[in-house]
């Protein structure tokens, strides 16, 4: 059993305990979507919120699909919820999105030859700056102290 299915089972037990058996029979099973299309399983909801914050709304480009009111963001949230309920892994959901929208859909694209420049540039700049400072300081320390 994966840790995910453990927490799902726990959530199911909790849901049954909290709502009472009578209600639980009438309500759809835990982990499904309620009438408003929201996730009922709190564990899935936590994963949903994390994934939705990681995905860029391409209609507005600087908002995540969790924050955006755009129609497309709403549709993509629906897609993420449905995939979570269907038991898909985080990786499967991210690759569903990048297969369709490209790496740009992720705020933190995974390290790959294509994204190496984005991830490497800050460290390169830091090293470059350090090298320049080192040279300048060394040069100045060699200068004669006049006056």
């Amino acid at each position: 059993m994966s840790p995910g299915s453990h927490s799902r089972l726990l959530a199911l037990i909790l849901a049954v305990a909290l709502t009472g058996f009578g209600d639980a029979c009438a309500a759809p099973p835990a982990g499904g979507l309620d009438a408003h299309g929201q996730l009922q399983d709190p564990a899935l909801q936590v994963r949903f919120e994390r994934i939705a914050k990681e995905l860029r709304c391409l209609q507005c480009q600087n908002e995540s699909i969790a924050d955006s009111n755009a129609d497309l963001a709403r549709d993509l949230r629906r897609q993420v919820r449905e995939m979570l309920v269907a038991g898909k892994s985080d990786d499967a959901i991210f690759s569903f999105m990048t297969d369709r929208y490209g790496e740009f859909v992720r705020f933190a694209p995974p390290l790959s030859p294509k994204t190496a420049l984005i991830w490497g540039a800050p460290f390169f700049m830091l090293l470059l700056g350090a090298a320049i400072i080192y040279r300048v300081v060394r040069q100045r320390s060699r200068m004669p102290l006049d006056e």
Partner: protein
């Protein structure tokens, strides 16, 4: 020597960067589609004009066709419509319309029907994407978007924003001519 060469190299690098970065013809919001070179997503949706009919791209395998994602709520699509009509008059390849209902309501179908009756119909078939799922499969994020699919069923080009005669002649026609070679 270094004191002269280094700033000069930096200057040249900046010029190159600006020539690419400040090109007014470049849409900074347009993203490369990961779909290029990959099979076009399959769809089988109800027909806008005839709700009992099904529009499916499986039936189009073996021919070059264009997919245009639009909606009556989209202003740019209204502008593009005249261009699409003119392009459809040339009868080069079939243009499949996908009417994207962003509010998931059935009303979009009636509006689309009215739109096509009043303004003319450039499409060989129009599919009704009420759930917006086909639009997601095609990676559409800003209608209108237009795709070119080759005989093998692969997407070979994508144009974001309104179609124009210029884009059609520069980007689509040469690719259609190249894709048309070899068979049929």
């Amino acid at each position: 020597m270094w004191k002269f060469l280094l700033p000069f190299a930096a200057f040249v690098a900046l010029v190159v960067l600006f020539v690419f970065g400040l090109n007014p013809n470049r849409d900074i919001h347009a993203l490369p589609s990961p779909l290029i070179g990959k099979p076009a997503p399959e769809f089988a949706l109800s027909n806008v004009i005839d709700p009992l009919g099904i529009v499916s791209n499986a039936a189009l395998k073996g021919q070059v066709y264009v997919v245009n994602v639009w909606g009556t709520w989209c202003a740019e699509c209204r502008v593009e419509h005249e261009e699409l009509l003119a392009i459809s008059q040339q009868h080069v390849v079939p243009i499949i319309g996908i009417d994207w209902s962003v509010d998931h309501g059935p009303g979009e179908r009636d509006k689309a029907k009215l739109w096509l009756e009043r303004l003319g119909n450039p499409y060989s078939q129009v599919a009704f994407d009420q759930e917006g799922r086909t639009a997601i499969d095609f990676g559409v994020y800003a209608a209108p978007e237009t795709f070119l699919v080759d005989r093998q069923g692969n997407v070979i080009f994508k144009h974001i924003s309104g179609m124009t005669q210029e884009v059609w002649e520069k980007e689509f026609l040469p690719r259609i001519a190249a894709a048309g070679k070899g068979g049929a």
